[in-house]
Amino acid sequence: MKAKLSILIIAAVAMVSFTLGSCSDDNLGASIFDTVDHPLDKSLYTFPLDTFVKVNFQEPYNVRYMYKMQDMSLSSSDLQKNLTPCSYDKSVDLATLAKYLWFDIYKELANQHEIFLKKYSPRIIHIIGSKSLNVSQGTETLGVAEGGLKISLYNANNLSVDDIDMMNEYFFKTMHHEFGHILDQTISRPLLFNLLSNGQYDASGWTNTPDSVAAGRGFVSPYASSMAREDWVEVLANYVTRDTLSWNILLGSAEYEWEEIDIESESAYKKLITPGCNLDTIGYYKADKSGNGDNKVYRRVCVRNAAGNVEKDENGNPIWVHKSGIDGRSLILTKLDMVRAWLSNNYGISIDAMRKMVQQRTYLTDSKGDFVIKNGKLVNRFSYNNYELMNSLRNQVEKYKELQPKN
């Protein structure tokens, strides 16, 4: 699985203005920019979506939902990247989902409601259809927040409402992650947070860090271990979008210390696996990504003898040890508490209420409000009952077709 990268670009634009006196002609004429407010053209194929985003993003929050590629040079600062636009249909899906799982939730929970989004939401949400691959690093940019003004989301053409994990990874988590950056840039996170994992951050090595290893070091994701500001918003985004089962697995992994060791090959690893063996001590195979035969296994740290065999306690269990002295679980929960307090104190938002609302909008609940579980998994609300929810969201766009002239 490609390592995922989410980048914050803080555009510090230094404007140097040279005020030169006008020479002789004070009549500057009409603006070279188009200042006319054009009504939406009802004959256009895109009129329904254009109307939806005008009504739901532009008019209430002064946000522009940019789904067409208007200038590829604006879509990435790196012109060497090959990016393609989003299809119309996927743009419709993502617009309705952004409203449903992002804007509507903040609007309802923030203490200033609409005002909150007017003040803090990005001015532009830019949707890109293709992935944004960082070839030299072997990573992929999921989203970019630029100077609090613009959030770009990538890979929209592969949006699949059947795949909650994919939607969480690429869109929902990324929306909360990038918006978290904007809120963090507006009211800074507590300085104390930066000290919690001080010395543990690795701006380049995170791409090769397995989830469990990162968790054991007190990070909710490998990317969180890249730097403090990413750690901060990853805590927010992961807590809000991960379901309870997934969050508890993360905390479970974080209770232990993990180590990476070299292994000759995948076949050598498979020979170690026997029925009933303890995978935590043998380790989990991590496929070689470099192509250099750099095969790894990551496993929980325990007491081993000189031959490398596991020493067991009187009950026959491995003796887990914490060499680093880091209690990953406590650290993650401490970080979460700080995010919780910061959101509540500064923005009036309960992160727990937000999480509950996001989860309830994502997964099916019964009449009592309890989550429905099938085959050990939560049920995708978007695709449930023949895509009833997703179709109702799409209808919020489609309904504007009625305003269009009939052919």
């Binding site: 699985m1 490609k2 020479c23 590829m72 040079s73 393609t84 992935k131 960082n134 990504k289």
Partner: protein, 450 residues
Amino acid sequence: MKKIFSTILILSTVLSITSCKYEEDDIWNQSAAERIETISKNYAETLMNSKGGWAMQYYPTNSNSYPSGNGYLLMAKFADKGTVTMGMKNVFSSNAYREDVSTWDINKDQGPVLSFSSYNTCIHVFADPYDLPFTGTKDDEVNEEGKGAQGDYEFSMIEVPTDGNHVLLMGKKRNSYTYLTPVPEGTDFKTYIEDCQKVTADFFPTTNPLEYQILLPDSTINTYQFSSGLTTLYPAGTDRVMTGVVNSYLITNYDGKYYLRFRDALKLKDGSKINNFVYNKEEDVFKGVENENCKIVGPDMATFIESKFDDGRSWAMMNNTDMSVKCLAIYSALVVDFKNILKADIKGITLRKNNGKLSLAINYGAGIRPQSVIFNIDSYTLENGKFSIGNVTTDTDNGKKILETKAMQALVNSLKQPNTISPATTQYNPNVLRLNNDNDAELWLTITLK
């Protein structure tokens, strides 16, 4: 330091004054923004005015390598509701016809820019960053190269004449040119593409591929791997590796004629350029549009035939070969005679060279052990477009019996007489040849390179 500072200060002052001194009067009636708006509107009208749409000669990049340097024929119909319907059939669509609808806009950049602004599987597939499995690139999610074909989908509009007979676009990122010609109203995109592809394959076959020459007024250019669509062009008499340049081309139909347009213009020594060649059916030749003294010509017939003989190849007349009624009667009689003598069916008759000697073989039998009756030809003439053979003999008893038949005698006699030899369809594809008996216009047959 002080001196430098003083100099800069003085210069700045002088320049500031100078800039104030001369003021230009308005030389246009509209502001820059208004002019771009007007031009964009006109350009959009031109694109929409072709009711049948446009044939779009699309080159993802100007590179020398497959697949991004090759040309692809895309079709596009621009509608006033902001949609563009596109069609294509090529390796990017697994050689199946594909059609898709998306949006288009003309953006006002430094000039009008045609943007295919939402994803369309018929153009953005050339711009996606994903690996292309059909190139043999390992499509590895972990180690994606991030390149794809690197094509453009935003184009500066370079030429948009008001009569709408073409549009020339230039990709914003890769700077490769895309040439559009209108197609008649009601044109079925799939039919149009398949026709152009068939014509291309008929002219420049990929099986038994050939090389050609481009005759320019001042020089001759040889081609290498022309049929692949991505060809190397090099001056005749020079070393291809040292002097060759890679170019590519597409054939389209405009106004009922087939045009071959190179991606990169050919430069003549007088400084002029030539991009387009149009097929003249009467003369069976692609002639330059910009300069009709430029021609693309097929291989020299005699040299081509001899080279194939030398390669051990043969020319065959099969049971289903195209031939005149009179020739068919001879062939049919030979089939009957042959069956009476050898109790076997003729599979075909071939001309080939063995040890430098031309021979004619009647092939029969089937499966893994086909057999032949061989006839030796003591001499042959192949020059100035004429072909004839000398005496025919055979060493076997069955061969002698066959040679004595009336049908075989008629066939041999016909070949002994002067025959005009020419490509059956076009000079560009002499893989199928036609032999016309100069003494009897009703006696002709075709032979195919095997």
